[in-house]
Every structure is written in C-alpha cells, then in structure tokens.
Symmetry: C2
Subunit: 203 residues, 2 copies
C-alpha cells in the first residue's frame, strides 16, 4: 500500500505537483464512474485541475492508465495464489483461504479490481489482463477439483460451474461494497465464506 518508489514525478514543490500515483487514482475513479471509453482526457484534466497536456507528462497515453490499474488488481489476486501455495494445508482449508483472500484483495484494491472485472478484451492491454485473470480462475478451479476429490466439495455439480458461481458471488461485491459502510472486510469475508460453504438456508 506504500507509494511505489517510481523514479518519476516525486511530489516536488512547484504548481500542484501531482504524482504519477495521484493521476492514476483520479483516472481509475473516473473510469469506474463513466467507463474507460467514455472518460475523455478532458474530463480527467478537469477533475485533476490540470491541462490535458500535463497528464501526458505522467502517462504517455490513456491506455497506460488502464494498464497500470489492471496490473494493480491482478498483482493482488496473484499474490493470494502465491500465499496459498506457501501455506499448504488441506484442500478445504486452502480453498477457504483463497475465497477469503480474494475478498480481502477485492476490498483493499476495490477500484482497481472493479475496473478489472469490467474488462472485455477490446484492446491489447485488456486482452493481456484477461489472460492473467483466466490463469487465476483456472488455479481456483483446480483447487475446487482437489477439494472435491478429497470429499469436501459437493460432487453433484460440475466443478467449473461451482467455481464460477462462487467467484461470481465474490466478484459481485465490487458492485455495492463501500469502505465507509458498516461491514468490515473481515466481517464480509466471513459472511461470504459462510454463504459459499453452507448456503443461505437456516442451519
């Protein structure tokens, strides 16, 4: 969560003196509000209090703002997979860790993951992101299959359908979760895990 030690655009004194990270944050917020395509560099510059040309000092093109945002989201999700590999445990434990970990990443990097989940593959940058996202999905499906073979996941439904439904539920959190709201990340992760594992029926 610390700012990257980028060699460019340190917060010097001068005029506004915006950092690369400031520009990215504002851009991502605008992309979420209006969609990437519908967000013009003009809107961005208004929101930042900068001229359009000044933005090109921080990012060489509009699409590089998108690339940086998607990388932030994918890095977080891939980190969950690295952690679960390092931790070990039963397939059931590892699956629970991945679901809970994904919820936490989703909340910690909410705007970036929100953007990632809206990507449809209409440019090179988007297709690259989709490729990495699909690799994540495949890893989770493999984990579900493992847990199913170990007898902890129901075997009456196709594993990839189960995976898609559960992660559809997880991912839908970006549609409504607000950090300033009543639910903490831990509380929500626990709720998601409960509904994913046991369903909504009364015990």
């Amino acid at each position: 969560m610390m700012s990257h030690p980028e060699p460019v655009a340190a917060p010097k004194r001068g005029r506004p003196g915006l950092s690369r990270h400031d520009v990215l944050e504002a851009a991502v917020a605008a992309f979420i509000e209006h969609g990437y395509d519908a967000t013009s560099m003009g809107m961005l510059s208004s929101r930042l209090g900068l001229s359009k040309a000044a933005i090109y000092h921080h990012f060489p093109a509009k699409v590089e703002l998108l690339r940086a945002a998607l990388d932030e989201a994918l890095g977080g999700l891939e980190g969950v997979l690295r952690q679960v590999d390092a931790l070990g445990g039963s397939p059931e434990q590892r699956l629970a860790f991945v679901i809970s970990g994904a919820v936490h990443v989703l909340i910690e990097r909410l705007p970036y993951v929100t953007l990632l989940l809206r990507v449809r593959g209409n440019s090179e940058v988007e297709r690259d992101a989709l490729t990495r996202r699909r690799a994540f999905d495949r890893a989770v499906t493999a984990l579900v299959i493992e847990a199913r073979n170990a007898g902890s996941v129901r075997s009456d439904i196709d594993p990839s359908v189960v995976t898609r439904l559960i992660f559809g539920m997880v991912n839908s959190i970006v549609e409504w979760y607000r950090p300033e709201g009543p639910e903490s990340a831990d509380q929500l992760a626990s709720d998601v895990l409960a509904v994913a594992l046991e369903g909504l029926s009364a015990s």
Copy 2:
C-alpha cells in the same frame, strides 16, 4: 418471445429490408462486445450492412437502442415478481421461485440482461433503468426477510448482504453462460438453487 406487433418496419421486400428488431439485436450484440459508448453508429452500420443514416430510420437516436434493450431485460425480471405474487406459497417456496425465475429470464433474454447489468447511471435512460432494477432488488430483499422471519433463511447474516451475494451469484451467469454450451437452462437454475441454498460443501 414472438416478435412484437410493431406498426413500424415490417419485413417488406426492397433492399435488405431490416426490421426494427433486427437492428436492435445487432446493436445489443455490438454494445456487449465493445460497450455502449465505444460502439459508434459507424460500427453498427458496418455490422448491419447499412449506412449510418438508415439506422436513424428505425431508431431516432443511439440512446433509444439502449432504452429498448434495457426495457426488454427489466420487463422479464418484473414478470418474475408478478408471477410469484400470483402463485403464493411459503416464503421459502417463493424465494426459490424468484431465484430460479431470474436465472431463466437471464438465459432467455441473455443479451438484454447482460446490458442491464453493465449500466452505471450515466444518462437519463440508464438512471431510469437503475431505478427499476433497484425496485426489483428491494422486492427480493423483502422476500428474503420474510423467509428469514419464517425460519428458513439463516439469521446470522444481514438479509441485504445475503440477497446481494445470492443475486451477485445469479447475475454473474451472464459473464460465462452460452446457450450453445452443455448446460440447459433448467439444469443451471437447479444448480444455482442448490448452491444458493446449501452452499458448495459436500452434503
């Protein structure tokens, strides 16, 4: 599912002779592929084999294509609520009917619902659609609360969180379901209901 008896644009002979419905279908497909904003009237006209101007004969503006599509989706979902009201039954039965009914509408009107779920409220048309969609969500939440008071839905999690998670799962189907794939609508609705009610854990 029959074509509407619109008084306009019957499939006469002439040149291509496209109907209003043909144009809408092609537009919705393009909106899904590239996003509404990123789809230009030029792209639309190429895909249809028409000039841009010809499209304006069928729809007076680009946004009217979106309005018609969203109305198709919302009409289907609102129909499920009307049916459940007419049918009666226990809260548990009615909740199951709404979940299963939503899955069926989602599949029958896949492109239209896909578009609806991507709307963010950036124009009058989108805000109107969001208003109707929120009314649907509220009706479902009320049903979850009823079922919870009747003892059939778990009471350890906030009802609106439960509703959002379950419908997040349902709605995520548009991200991957393809009619030509192996799962029938009935099969998928039954899978969704099973995971929603009982979770992914082995019985």
